[in-house]
Symmetry: C2
Subunit: 241 residues, 2 copies
DNA sequence: ACAAAAGTGTTTTAGGTACACCCATGT
DNA sequence: ACATGGGTGTACCTAAAACACTTTTGT
């Protein structure tokens, strides 16, 4: 049904972004609620922020623009996860197949996914209310639109790999002031394993001199209060040179 | 200059494959010689095997087909490296911009690169002669067409990461019979570091029970002959379960 | 005999794990 | 007082590194 005169596939390109957040207890992923009216029925579902890229737009530019438009968030760094061809994919491609260009039917949509992380703070909470996005715990996520569950899995796997090579990314996820147990819980969720609390404490304090103790402690815990720490980016970069 | 009636980019998709080989001494990458006539002048250059994908074709299908067509090689496994947008890329996009579909100018070409490895054996050598591809040492590679130097860099980085998680890939690169020093040299080139020969030997023999010694030795070396070994896939898989 | 690389053995070091135990806080 | 998790100290185990030394081969 394609009207083009070459055998080569003609595609639109879309980008989807897997944005992780951490509320101090659980690793979360950012989702957008959507609804589609089909006659009398209304289907509700949630999806990752994403859209088609525009002419004259590079992939990275596009994902930054789209995330800003859909969530208000100006994400600093995007890491490419993977590209998914149009064949054998779910209804996302079908749904947008209608898009035509001067009678040339698009053969499909190729999707490239990106990983990013954000600190959940007051500013971000106000954006959440304004734009209506939602944080969902990565563990026990529901069935999502399209193949978005897979994108999240692949994104989480990449987050794990990246954080091995570049611990910095996990501190971008933590609040400015955090406790070692909070950091440990985050690591446990990213690496899907358990860490001994005592050993973890010692490793961080002994091997990560860019994690600095503050004179401030948690309150209202029902047990000994944990000390707050902060991530010193300058010391971190100096160490990595 | 685009005649389409939506703001969305319309692209062709191309795939390029970075295929590594190992001759027992040096890590090599497979390149195809090309020449383009521009009036009286003939430009010669080398490039990675790659082409545009066809309608109704998935990315992986396409890269397998293209590699088979261009080199005769039926590669078993392809690992996606990265996708490069069309904007700000070099002349590859320009060169093929001419491709049009019913008056709709394509906005650009998005390229996805794939990593693969092959054993250089007699069968492969005969394919090399038949299809005219060339093996080039990864170290000290010349300036290639388009952004192919970058693709190779990114491919090598991925090979390193993959081989950390899955040592098997390096044995796919080694000949069926190999010596421990050959394996060590390969690891040194992939990981860009030096290994102590004695320690390396012990690590392989002690921690990799799927590397089996043979009753066969190198000859004509000018020094003590190294023992040949082989990779036992069955034992390897059993261990990883 | 000698050079040169294969291969073995020994020692040291660093990092991870297990776990006992003390500390601080809310109920 | 007690439960709960924060945090410290100690012992142990394993893997990696350093390096001395022996073995084998071609010239």
């Amino acid at each position: 049904m394609s009207a083009a005169n070459t055998p080569y596939a003609v595609n639109h390109i879309s980008v989807d972004s897997v944005i992780f957040g951490y509320d101090g207890r659980k690793l979360m992923v950012l989702l957008l609620p959507e609804q589609v009216r089909m006659g009398r029925e209304v289907f509700r579902f949630r999806k990752l922020p994403g859209d088609l890229i525009l002419r004259e737009e590079d992939l990275e530019e596009a994902v930054h623009r789209i995330v800003r438009d859909l969530t208000g968030i100006d994400v600093l760094k995007m890491i490419q996860i993977k590209t998914y061809g149009s064949k054998g994919r779910t209804s996302e491609t079908d749904m947008r197949w209608l898009l035509q260009n001067n009678g040339v039917t698009i053969d499909g949509i190729v999707t490239t996914s990106y990983l990013s992380v954000v600190k959940i703070n007051r500013q971000l909470e106000s954006l959440r209310k304004k734009f209506g996005f939602e944080w969902t715990p990565v563990q026990g996520i529901e069935q999502l639109a399209f193949d978005h569950n897979r994108l999240i899995e692949d994104g989480l796997a990449l987050l794990k790999n990246v954080s091995d090579a570049t611990p910095e990314i996990l501190f971008d996820l933590l609040p400015r002031k955090f406790t070692i147990p909070q950091y440990r819980l985050l690591c446990e969720q990213v690496h899907r394993r358990h860490y001994d609390p005592g050993n973890f404490q010692k490793k961080v304090l002994g091997k990560m001199p860019y994690v600095l103790p503050l004179e401030e402690f948690e309150t209202g815990t029902g047990h000994r209060a944990a000390r707050y720490h902060r991530f010193d980016k300058t010391a971190y970069k100096r160490l990595r040179k």
